[in-house]
């Protein structure tokens, strides 16, 4: 282009390149700054105050954190959340694996996978509502089935002993399809000749599953377990709709407790303190995850 100053210095060129780079990153950076970095800092700030939204926040130092340590409800919610994780993850993983292996072996049609993924496309709110109806102790369809098979009706979401399992089951219903899909993709990556070779050696289905499938699926397995683990700690929607933390506090998970404090009790400072503690815990889990994932690099290249 004639007339344009082409003869630039290295510094000018670099500056121009950097400028364009910054321009490209700028919108995302603004989003990051305002809606991730700033709120994180503010959450920590709020956690050091006593604030009910309606009055000015009052600085209380680490008071909220001290309260938290001796707050039985907090520890209870941590325990309940952990219980949820312990129900949810194995259930979802085992069922997902079973479903993946079955569809890999017996039915690879896309429609089948599309069908089992349908629950995942539906929101937690909707899933919780429909299951709430189906799990009603007196009027629910599930108890009608159970009665039909001679099993006495169960309380499910209404029973303190069963509510958490029921919530986990609803989550499992929603997520098993996705888990299965991820496993299925992992199974597809295992070359078929391995099975042929094993079969020539006289291996049965179970041996092949144990000796070939499972070890080679390990990276996907680790990924699925760890990501759903982090998601599980943040269970909220189903609880909010189906049990509201009850009955008898049996489903008062951490996020519900944070929600209660923030928006029901108007204890923003305390809610923020719990959030910060949760954040710290999740970072720990994530670091652990990185370790696990690295330790489980694929044996396939």
């Amino acid at each position: 282009m004639p007339g344009r100053a082409r003869n630039v210095s290295l510094r000018q060129r670099r500056r121009k390149e950097a400028l364009i780079g910054y321009l490209f990153v700028a919108p995302a950076f603004v989003g990051f700054l305002i809606f991730y970095l700033l709120p994180t800092v503010r959450a920590v700030g709020i956690s050091l105050t006593d604030w009910n939204l309606m009055r000015a926040p009052k600085f209380v130092g680490l008071g909220n954190y001290a309260t938290l340590l001796s707050d039985g409800n907090f520890w209870h919610s941590a325990k309940v959340t952990l219980a949820y994780v312990l129900y949810n993850i194995p259930l979802q993983t085992v069922l997902g694996l079973l479903l993946a292996v079955l569809s890999d072996r017996l039915a690879r049609a896309v429609w089948l996978r599309a069908t089992i993924i349908a629950p995942y496309l539906i929101s937690n709110v909707v899933a919780a509502l429909v299951w709430m109806m189906m799990l009603d102790p007196i009027l629910g369809l599930v108890n009608a089935f159970l009665t039909f098979f001679g099993v006495s009706p169960q309380g499910f979401l209404a029973s303190p002993d069963q509510a958490m399992v029921s919530v986990a089951a609803i989550s499992t219903w929603r997520h098993t399809g996705l888990t299965a899909l991820l496993f299925y993709a992992g199974l597809q990556a295992i070359p078929g000749y391995l099975y042929e070779a094993a079969r020539l050696e006289g291996a049965g289905e179970w041996t092949m599953f144990r000796r070939i499938t499972l070890p080679l699926l390990r990276p996907v397995l680790a990924f699925v377990v760890v990501t759903s683990l982090i998601g599980s700690f943040q269970v909220f929607d189903v609880v909010a709709v189906a049990t509201a933390g009850g009955p008898s506090n049996s489903t008062r998970v951490i996020l519900w407790y944070i929600y209660e404090n923030a928006f029901k009790f108007n204890r923003m400072g305390y809610a923020s303190a719990i959030s910060v503690v949760l954040f710290a815990t999740l970072i720990l889990v994530t670091l652990l995850q990185m370790r696990v994932l690295r330790a489980d690099q694929s044996d396939l290249d």
Partner: protein, 444 residues
């Protein structure tokens, strides 16, 4: 931390400027109509109040009413956050459970002087309603409506059990043997073999119709247990704005023990574990329960969902008489409103005879003025429903107020859990209740 605070101060400054500009903008628009936002949670009432608003707008040119309805669960979250946001409605329907908190935070306008200036007659309301919105001789709301509890029964089931309506209207109850209530409830319970609860061989593990069902319990037990406990001498709180909850009272423990046993030991009532989030309304509509105590605000719910004919009976007579929780709502003005004068006009109109009568005639709720409440009763009668069971209890002698205290939400959560635990049979009622009560009182 210091930097953070400084940053925040800066931000606040920017926001203050922005707010000032917005305010400036809106004051230019002042010459035009004033639009008042009026918030409520009951969807049934919104169209009725629209009628009031239409009349009001006609009488007060220059003021427009915008009714915003939000569901109960979400109403309070939205409201308390909008106070901070400065976007709260000018007038909002207020509930006693929130009164202390709102008062402490100064979000309600003090109406005392306006009431005096305009000579609004507070005695025109049902006794007790205006008083509950009064604190230290300052009035923070004009009574809007009230509710009481009655028993809803399935007419066919009652007839099939050979129980007369007369019997139903004169039920007695005590925590020892349950009085005639327990007898009737037993008789109304039927197992899968058709055996009734008062017959030998009744299988409590295979009940097909329960004599008694309530909604899942909460800490106040408005429709589930409070009327029984109070009729046995229980006092939820020492006084309005009290500092002492009375949940450690033996009366409450024995009442809840009776309720627990009715379900768990005798099988005449739905237990907690059998009451899902589908409430007693659903159980009743499905023909699985014969009697359900419920509030007057839910009358239409039964009408919509129940195919079977139903009637209303008054609460049973306990050792201490018949007692229903009497919960009065009010209309309050937001202290941050830009149009307080207009808002007051609207509140005055809402509490006045004209609007309350319109509301009463619609039959969705019982208005705070006796003459309007009468209109409501007649409206129901016209539709074939005798709701006198609700109205006859609306006297100071037969009611008790909603317990008001600070930190109501948190305390409610504690009490709810305790009562759930008692009814689930998770331990000695007295011990559980004492513990919860101490915890609640410890927060005040």
């Amino acid at each position: 931390m210091k930097e953070y605070l400084m940053g925040k101060r800066h931000l606040t400054g920017v926001l203050a400027t922005a707010t000032a500009l917005t305010t400036l903008g809106s004051s230019f628009a002042w010459a035009e109509d004033v639009t008042l936002n009026y918030a409520m949670w009951d969807a049934n009432q919104a169209p009725v109040y629209r009628q009031c608003a239409d009349k009001f707008e006609a009488e007060n040119p220059g003021i427009k009413i915008n009714i915003k309805q939000d569901s109960w669960d979400n109403y309070w979250t939205t409201l308390s956050t909008s106070f901070v946001a400065g976007t709260a409605p000018d007038v909002f329907v207020n509930h006693l459970s929130r009164f202390p908190e709102f008062l402490a935070n100064g979000v309600m306008d003090d109406l005392t002087d306006r009431i005096a200036a305009d000579k609004v007659e507070m005695k025109a309301y049902l006794p007790g309603l205006a008083e509950s919105w009064n604190k230290d001789d300052r009035q923070y709301g004009l009574p809007k409506d009230w509710d009481t509890i009655a028993l809803i029964y399935n007419k066919k089931m009652v007839a099939d059990a050979g129980i007369s309506e007369e019997e139903l209207k004169n039920l007695t109850w005590n925590p020892k043997d349950g009085g005639s209530l327990e007898k009737i409830v037993a008789r109304l319970s039927v197992d899968q073999n058709g055996k009734r609860g008062d017959e030998t061989g009744f299988d409590k593990s295979k009940v097909s119709v329960y004599g008694w069902a309530t909604n899942t319990v909460d800490g106040y037990g408005q429709t589930q247990w409070s009327f029984l406990a109070v009729s046995d001498g229980f006092k939820p709180i020492d006084k309005p704005w009290g500092k002492q909850y009375g949940y450690d009272s033996p009366a409450l423990a024995e009442t809840l023990t009776w309720i627990r046993d009715l379900a768990l030991k005798k099988g005449f009532a739905l237990s907690q574990e059998q009451t899902g989030r589908l409430n007693a309304t659903a159980i009743f509509a499905a023909g699985k329960a014969a009697i359900v105590p419920d509030g007057s605000w839910n009358i239409s719910s039964y009408r919509d969902t129940s195919k079977a004919e139903f009637g209303f009976a008054p609460l049973p007579q306990g050792p201490d008489g018949r007692r229903s929780m009497f919960n009065g709502l009010s209309d309050s003005i937001w202290s941050g409103s830009q149009h307080k004068d207009e808002a007051w006009k609207w509140v005055k109109y809402l509490g006045g005879s004209e609007c309350q009568t319109i509301v009463g005639k619609s039959g969705v709720v019982f208005p705070a003025r006796p003459e309007a409440a009468k209109a409501a009763e007649e409206a129901h009668k016209a539709k074939g429903l005798d709701v006198s069971a609700f109205v006859q209890l609306a006297t100071p002698e037969t009611t008790f107020p909603f317990p008001i205290s600070d930190r109501a939400s948190e305390i409610s959560a504690i009490l709810t859990t305790a009562i759930e635990n008692v009814l689930l049979g998770k331990g000695d009622p007295a011990t559980i209740l004492k513990e919860a009560n101490d915890q609640a009182n410890g927060m005040l």
